[in-house]
Subunit: 364 residues, 2 copies
DNA sequence: TTTAGCACTCAAACACCCTGAGTGCTAAAC
DNA sequence: GTTTAGCACTCAGGGTGTTTGAGTGCTAAA
C-alpha cells in the first residue's frame, strides 16, 4: 500500500505540528501549511482516510487528529527529513566528550548526561561487553610484609587492580612465583576454566599454603565476571517532566521506576546488526511500561569488536529527526574516543553522518 | 517556653496521625486517641493554643490541623519515641551490605539503594573525601615496547592504575629510573606541589626527552584531584511518587531536578561534628528547593579519619523515628565495613544504637 | 474531484449548589 | 478555674448543569 503524495504531505504535516504543539491538529491548521494547497474540507476527507488506514486517530470526536504509532512509523521510515546539527552543537558535543576521555565509566556517564541535555529526554547508556574477554597479564606488587597489589590486564586493554591485606607475612619471592605461574596458566582462558581443581593444582605446584593462589584466582574470576556484565547509566530522568505527556503522575512514575532498574535497562531495544540506530515507537516496545513511549538508541564501537549502546526514552510524540541526529553524532564521537582516535568525527561539519543509518532515509 | 504535658501529648498525637494518614487531623480524632482523655472541645482549645505558638497550622478554616516545621522540630527533639528495628530488617541490611564489600564505589551505591528501599524515600550517599590524601607509592609495569602501566597507591590504601600507549618505544630501564625518581620525589606531597617546575627539573635529572615524566605526573595530579572531590550517588528517586505530597508534578519535578545535580547534592546538610545524624525539617533547609522537604542524614566512618554521608530526602511529613533508626543502622554498618570489620554491628540486636545520636532523645 | 456550508458532537471551562468535617464561641457543669 | 456540650459558622470538594468553541462528517454545488 503506497500513500498518495498528498496523503504523505498531510501525514508529515500532522506529525510535525503535533510534535511541536502537543495538541491534536485539525484540518484548518493543516490547510494553512505552505506545503499543502487544499481546503480544509479536502484535508478532512484525506485525514478520514488516513484514520481508516490506522495512521491517525482522534482523541475524541470533536478534536483534531494525532498520529498513531503506525503513523509515526511511516513518518520515521519514509517521510522525515534529515536534521542537520548546528556547528555549535557539534562543537559542544566534541568538547564535552573530549574533556573526559580519562576513564571509561566516567566517559559514558558524561555522554549520557550530554545526551539527556541535548535531547531533553532521559538518556541511558550501556558499556560494551563481550563474553570472551580474557586476561592477558598478571602483576603482583610487593608493598610490605602483609600487603600486596594484584594488577590484571585484560584483552581489551583494561587494567584492574586490587590491594590485598594479609593476616600473615609474605616474601617477595612468593609473589614472583605467583606471577610466573599465573602468567603461564591463568592467561587467555575464560572465567569457567578457572576451576577449583585448577586452583588446587596450582597451589600444590607452587607450594602455597597461605591461600595466595585462591585470592588471586578469586580476583581474576571477579574481574572477568564483572567485565562480562554490562554497566548501565541513566541520566536526565527529571527531563521527563518537561514534556506534557508526563504531566500525568502515573505515567511518569511508571516510566521512571522502569528506568531505575538496571536489569530492565539491559532489556531495552538495541539496533539490529548492520544498522547503527534503532527507533522503537509506542507499542512496538516489548516492555509494557514503554507501550506509550518511544526509544531511540544508537550503537557505538568500543574497539575489539565490542559495542555499547546509548539512547533516549521519551513520549511517542518525539522530534525523531533531531534526536536521531544528535544521538548518532554522539555515538560516533564515542566510537572515535574508544578507538583511540584523538580528533573527533568531522568536526564542524554540519552534516553529521546520519546517512549511515538506514532508518533515516529522507525522501527528498 | 515549656509545653504542658497535655499539649505535648496532643502535639505528638497530631504528628503521628498526620504522618500516618497524610490528612489534617481534627479534634475528634485526637480525643479518641487512647493516650488522651479529654473531650474534643478541650482538644480544640489546646490545639488553638498550639497553633498560636506556631506548632500547628490549618490548611483552611474548616480543616483539621497539621504540624508546622517548628512542630515537627519539637516532636523530633523532645517527643518522638525510639523506633526499634525488627530483627529481619537488621539481617536484611547486614546481608545486603556484606555481599558487596568488594569495591568502595559499588558498596556505596548498594547502600544508597538499600536505604531508598527501606525508607521508601530517595536516598543520597557521599564518599568520604579528605583534602590531604597523598600518594605513597608508584609502580611502573613494562608491558611491551610501546606500552606500560602506571600504578599509584594512595595514603588511604586506594590503588589506581592507567594504561599508557606510546607512539615511540621505550626500554625497561627507563621505567625503572622513573620509578626510582617518582618514589623519591613525588610521594607524600599534595597535588599543588607537583608544579611544572618540579616536572621540568625531574625530566632533566632523568634525561627524559619523551615526556614520560609529564605523563606520570599528569596521572598523579589527576588521581589526587579526583580523590579530593567526593562522589555522589542518588537512588530511589522514583520512590518520591509513593508519597501524596509529590502528587503535584511541580513539587516532584523541583525536587528531582535538584537531586539530579551532583553539585547540589554536595550542599545537602551534614551532621555537626560529634553527632552522627542530622534531621533538617522544611524551611530549616538552606536550599529553596528543599523548603518543603526534610532531610535525614547520617555520617559513616570510612577509616583514616575520613567520613562519608548517607541520607534520605522526603516530605516534612516523614516517619522520622523509623527513618532515623534505619539510616543510623546502615551508617553503622558502613563504618564497620570500611574499618575492615568482618562482623556487622550488633547483629540481630533489636536496639540499633540510635542512642548515640543526641538528636534522638525519646522522652520516656 | 474539490470546496463551501451547515448541522452536529463533545471536552473543557465555568458557575452553582450541596454536603460534611471541623472549627470557635458561649454557657452550663464539674 | 477548668472542662464539656451545644450550636452557628466556614469552606474545600464533589456533583450537576450550562455555555463555548474547535473540529468534525456530510451534502450539494462548483
Amino acid at each position: 500500500m503506497e500513500l498518495s503524495d498528498r496523503k504523505k504531505r498531510i501525514l508529515r504535516a500532522v506529525v510535525e505540528h503535533y510534535v511541536e504543539t502537543a495538541e491534536p491538529v485539525g484540518s484548518k491548521t493543516i490547510s494553512s501549511d505552505p506545503e499543502i494547497n487544499s481546503s480544509s474540507a479536502t484535508i478532512r476527507n484525506e485525514m478520514a482516510e488516513l484514520e481508516s488506514l490506522g495512521l491517525l486517530e482522534q482523541p475524541h470526536t470533536s478534536a483534531g487528529r494525532i498520529p498513531t504509532s503506525m503513523g509515526y512509523r511511516i513518518y520515521v521510515n519514509e517521510l522525515m527529513k534529515q536534521h542537520r546539527l548546528s556547528v555549535e552543537e557539534t562543537v559542544r558535543i566534541n568538547n564535552a566528550l573530549k574533556s573526559k576521555v580519562q576513564q571509561l565509566d566516567n566517559l559514558l556517564s558524561v555522554a549520557g548526561k550530554l545526551t539527556a541535555q541535548l535531547t531533553s529526554y532521559p538518556a541511558y547508556a550501556l558499556t560494551a561487553a563481550s563474553a570472551d574477554t580474557v586476561i592477558t597479564r598478571y602483576d603482583f606488587i610487593f608493598v610490605d610484609q602483609s600487603t600486596f597489589i594484584i594488577v590484571i590486564m585484560l584483552g581489551n586493554n583494561i587494567v584492574k587492580n586490587k590491594l590485598v591485606h594479609l593476616p600473615f607475612s609474605i616474601e617477595r619471592e612468593q609473589l614472583m612465583k605467583l606471577s610466573a605461574v599465573f602468567n603461564a596458566s591463568f592467561t587467555g582462558i575464560p572465567e569457567e576454566s578457572i576451576t577449583t581443581e585448577l586452583i588446587a593444582a596450582t597451589e600444590r605446584s607452587v607450594g602455597d599454603k597461605d591461600g595466595l593462589v585462591s585470592i588471586a584466582a578469586g580476583f581474576a574470576i571477579e574481574t572477568l565476571m564483572s567485565h562480562r556484565t554490562r554497566e548501565t547509566f541513566v541520566s536526565g530522568t527529571s527531563k521527563l517532566f518537561e514534556h506534557p505527556e508526563y504531566r500525568d503522575i502515573g505515567r511518569a512514575q511508571k516510566l521512571l521506576s522502569y528506568l531505575s532498574d538496571a536489569e530492565t535497562i539491559l532489556q531495552l531495544p538495541a539496533p539490529e546488526k548492520e544498522s547503527g540506530m534503532k527507533i522503537t515507537i509506542g507499542a512496538e516496545n516489548l516492555a509494557d511500561e514503554l507501550s506509550d513511549s518511544s526509544v531511540v538508541v544508537a550503537r557505538y564501537d568500543a574497539g575489539d569488536d565490542m559495542q555499547g549502546l546509548i539512547g533516549v526514552v521519551g513520549p511517542t510524540r518525539m522530534d525523531y529527526p533531531k534526536v536521531a541526529a544528535r544521538l548518532s553524532y554522539i555515538a560516533k564521537g564515542l566510537s572515535w574516543l574508544f578507538s583511540g582516535g584523538s580528533s573527533p568525527p568531522e568536526l564542524g561539519d554540519g552534516d553529521s553522518g546520519e546517512k549511515t543509518h538506514k532508518i533515516l532515509q529522507g525522501d527528498e
